[in-house]
């Protein structure tokens, strides 16, 4: 009887165990699901709180920055490409990178999951294939010392460089080559402002239309050749503009949705009606970016005649030149290189177009520029020089029948720091037509930026002045996306490592006293237990 019952009991036990096993697995699965759900729910902005326990609220974003994050229309990816800097900035750059990382974490966490961080490893000094591809997608090929951040949303992207955009460094003179040794230092750090502005830039949901004039010998917008504008076009598109061309022959009136009209390097005059249409568009409150080619301007219906009533005279002929310094430090003239110059902070004004460049100590490369003269425009207009040539520049006039001069200053050629770029603002003019309004700028106002050197915009030279051009188009389109966030200097918590006695006491306390104390306590406990 008992023998007969045993298999049945075993079978019942196995079934019970199986039942409990299944119950256990199911319960574990449900609990895991619950934990996952809780984790995901807690990440929602509405139920997520961050308590900043630092003394100076160093981890709390400014209200302006929080507002930008709250209004992000789509997800943003931030690619981090940090690499080491050169001597003597290595340590300072690491510290700046650390601060940026911290800021990125705060941004990510405050964004409610809409900002994603991707870290790329450059510790070996080179990028892997995936990172290189990403870098190319972001519109650059290499990472300069210190590194950069690539901020992208959909097709739009912006690059923020650690050195220049986020922080400024002074290399100092640690070896004392020029007198008393001076350690390197971080001059400024404006990470929050730079990141928030870049976020705003890529996350804007407007797509202003930019049209380029064609048919007058302008540089070709589609051409990838040295003298083409394909890089210019790609940069504008990456910045959120919709780029196209305006052919007067096909559409005599400018399309109403044109936010900015650009004319880069025209060498032939505009047709009379075209000239009038252009003039009318700008004087109704349109936005215009003009860059004359290095050739002498046509005597009529050219950019010169267009800008003149607005208060800006473009020199008809001649190129702004500056002496070049040879290896021995002596100024040299008489060669085509005199047409090139680098305008540094002294030549950059505080206008929004160049202010970011000036502040970060960057220079603007100029090549074969026309001189500009600021005069008086319409009543209520403002004509501002934006950048000026270097001291000692002269206007090199062409020889008779030639396009260029001898690259040497002569008595009849004027010498001064010529204006090379100017910004004009004026209210819509009566008689030009109904004032133009655009969605973001309710007050109709003409914005004109004239830059004397169209050669700087071509593919072969574009990268040097990329930011200047993008700033100019954004200013013209009144895309006022700059948010001012005050730079904060975090408290430094440091032990004076120069004081040997302090270091020795710290060494003793941390490495000897504390472990020894725990060992003694352990021995004491063992001794007590044995007794």
């Amino acid at each position: 009887m008992a023998l007969g019952k045993q298999p049945a009991a075993e079978s019942a036990g196995r079934a019970t165990r199986l039942r409990f096993g299944v119950q256990f697995a199911l319960a574990a699965f449900l609990f895991a699901l619950l934990a996952l759900l809780l984790t995901r729910l807690s990440e929602r902005t509405s139920v997520r709180w961050r308590f900043d326990w630092t003394r100076g609220s160093e981890n709390t974003l400014e209200p302006a920055a929080l507002e930008v994050l709250a209004q992000l229309p789509e997800d943003v990816t931030i690619d981090i490409f940090f690499r080491a800097a050169e001597y003597p900035l290595e340590e300072l750059v690491i510290r700046a990178q650390e601060r940026v990382r911290r800021l990125l974490y705060i941004l990510r966490d405050a964004s409610g999951g809409r900002v994603r961080l991707v870290q790329h490893d450059l510790s070996s000094g080179r990028l892997d294939e995936l990172s290189q591809t990403r870098l190319n997608e972001l519109g650059t090929r290499e990472v300069e010392p210190g590194g950069l951040l690539g901020i992208s949303a959909g097709k739009r992207h912006a690059l923020v460089k650690l050195r220049g955009d986020i922080a400024d460094f002074d290399k100092g003179d640690p070896a004392g080559m020029q007198g008393v040794p001076r350690p390197p230092s971080m001059v400024s750090f404006r990470g929050e402002e730079a990141l928030v502005n870049a976020l705003m830039k890529v996350a804007r949901n407007d797509a202003p239309r930019v049209l380029f004039t064609i048919g007058h010998g302008e540089y070709d917008l589609e051409s990838a050749e040295f003298l083409g504008l394909s890089k210019f076009k790609a940069a504008l598109e990456a910045d959120g503009f919709v780029v196209g061309s305006w052919d007067f022959q096909k559409t005599p009136e400018l399309p109403e949705d044109c936010r900015v009209l650009a004319s880069i390097g025209p060498v032939q005059p505009f047709a009379p009606n075209e000239f009038l249409a252009l003039k009318r568009y700008v004087e109704r409150g349109g936005r215009f970016v003009a860059m004359p080619a290095p050739d002498p301007l046509p005597p009529q219906d050219s950019l010169r005649q267009l800008a003149s009533p607005w208060g800006l005279e473009i020199a008809e002929k001649g190129l702004v030149c500056a002496p070049q310094v040879d290896v021995s430090g002596r100024p040299q003239t008489g060669n085509a290189q005199c047409g090139q110059q680098l305008v540094d902070q002294t030549g950059l004004s505080q206008h929004p177009i160049v202010e970011p460049l000036r502040r970060s100590g960057r220079r603007v490369a100029i090549l074969n520029a026309h001189a500009l003269d600021v005069g008086r425009g319409f009543p209520g207009s403002t004509v501002l020089p934006v950048l000026r040539a270097v001291e000692g520049s002269w206007l090199d006039l062409p020889e008779e029948g030639a396009k260029v001069g001898d690259w040497k200053p002569s008595a009849d050629e004027s010498r001064r720091p010529f204006v090379l770029g100017a910004a004009i603002l004026f209210p819509p003019q009566l008689g030009a037509g109904a004032p133009l309004r655009n969605a973001e700028d309710q007050r109709p106002e003409a914005h004109v930026f004239v830059f004397g050197a169209a050669m700087c915009a071509v593919n072969g030279n574009f990268e040097a002045d990329r930011d200047l051009f993008l700033n100019a188009f954004n200013w013209a389109a009144a895309r006022d996306w700059r948010v001012s966030v005050g730079a904060r200097v975090p408290e430094e918590h440091r032990l004076d490592m120069q004081d040997e006695s302090k270091v020795a006491r710290t060494n003793f306390a941390l490495v000897i006293a504390l472990p020894l104390l725990s060992l003694l306590l352990g021995l004491f406990t063992a001794w007590r237990r044995r007794r």
């Binding site: 165990r17 319960a27 895991a32 139920v47 630092t54 966490d109 408290e491 032990l495 306390a509 941390l510």
Partner: protein, 245 residues
């Protein structure tokens, strides 16, 4: 939770009356103190950076996090199961939850004491004249304790599954390693969706992006608590299952 206090006191006493806890504490303090000084020297005396390395950003911190909790918890259930002590415990008037939570709290208390060494470090530095942001120290400590809670949970679970402490410790170390390396493994897989999904359970990043900077982020607190609770739940169920064997 009847009997929680008694279990907790018993486990704590067992830990601190035995040589293992003191040995581990001494080794950890020696290692941590030495490395803290190296970080301090390397950063030119930057206290925040040294603290950050000590509690969240260094390899040694993660090594301690992965190894120590299993060493503490390996005996808690498996050893008792092997010696038969567990049977007495299970027949005592205490609930399974209290047994698990009491043991877990004891292990976590030890980890809290271990990571509490940063208060001593900060105190010593303050004594030497370095300004200390105590908010950062407290938040870093809390983060390290929460992170340890997760690993104590895994340790307790594996301990509840086997009667051999070494096997329990080894299994817990493997699980802890997987938890810590999960984002890295997901990244290496090259599958973007997997990498994004792993961000939710990215333990190192949760610690590094908030606590070590002096931020208490409720999302990360919930994360650590929820997943610690998950492993405690598994441990409780495993313990419960013993009654039916």
């Amino acid at each position: 939770m009847r009997g929680f206090g008694a279990i907790y006191r018993r486990e704590l006493a067992a830990l601190f009356l035995g040589p293992l806890a003191w040995t581990l504490l001494c080794i950890a303090l020696l290692l941590n103190g030495y490395l803290f000084l190296i970080y301090l020297r390397g950063s030119g005396g930057d206290v925040d950076l040294a603290l950050r390395f000590s509690l969240g950003e260094s390899f040694v911190f993660w090594a301690l996090c992965v190894l120590f909790p299993p060493l503490l918890t390996m005996r808690m259930l498996s050893e008792e199961s092997r010696t038969g002590m567990l049977e007495y415990l299970l027949t005592a008037p205490v609930s399974d939850v209290a047994v698990i939570c009491g043991k877990f709290a004891a292990a976590l208390s030890f980890m809290g004491i271990l990571w509490g060494s940063v208060f001593v470090y900060a105190g010593v530095l303050a004594w030497q004249g370095a300004p200390i942001d105590w908010g950062v120290v407290c938040a870093s400590w809390l983060g390290a304790v929460l992170c340890s809670a997760l690993f104590c949970g895994t340790g307790l679970w594996t301990s509840s599954l086997t009667g051999t402490p070494v096997v329990a410790a080894f299994a817990a170390v493997v699980i802890n390693l997987v938890i810590v390396l999960l984002p890295l493994l997901a990244g290496l897989s090259g599958v973007t969706a997997l990498a994004i999904a792993s961000e939710t359970v990215d333990v190192p990043s949760h610690l590094r992006s908030a606590f070590v900077f002096g931020v208490i982020d409720t999302a990360y607190v919930v994360f650590f608590l929820a997943w610690s609770a998950f492993f405690l739940f598994l441990s409780t169920r495993a313990l419960e299952a013993r009654r039916w064997r």
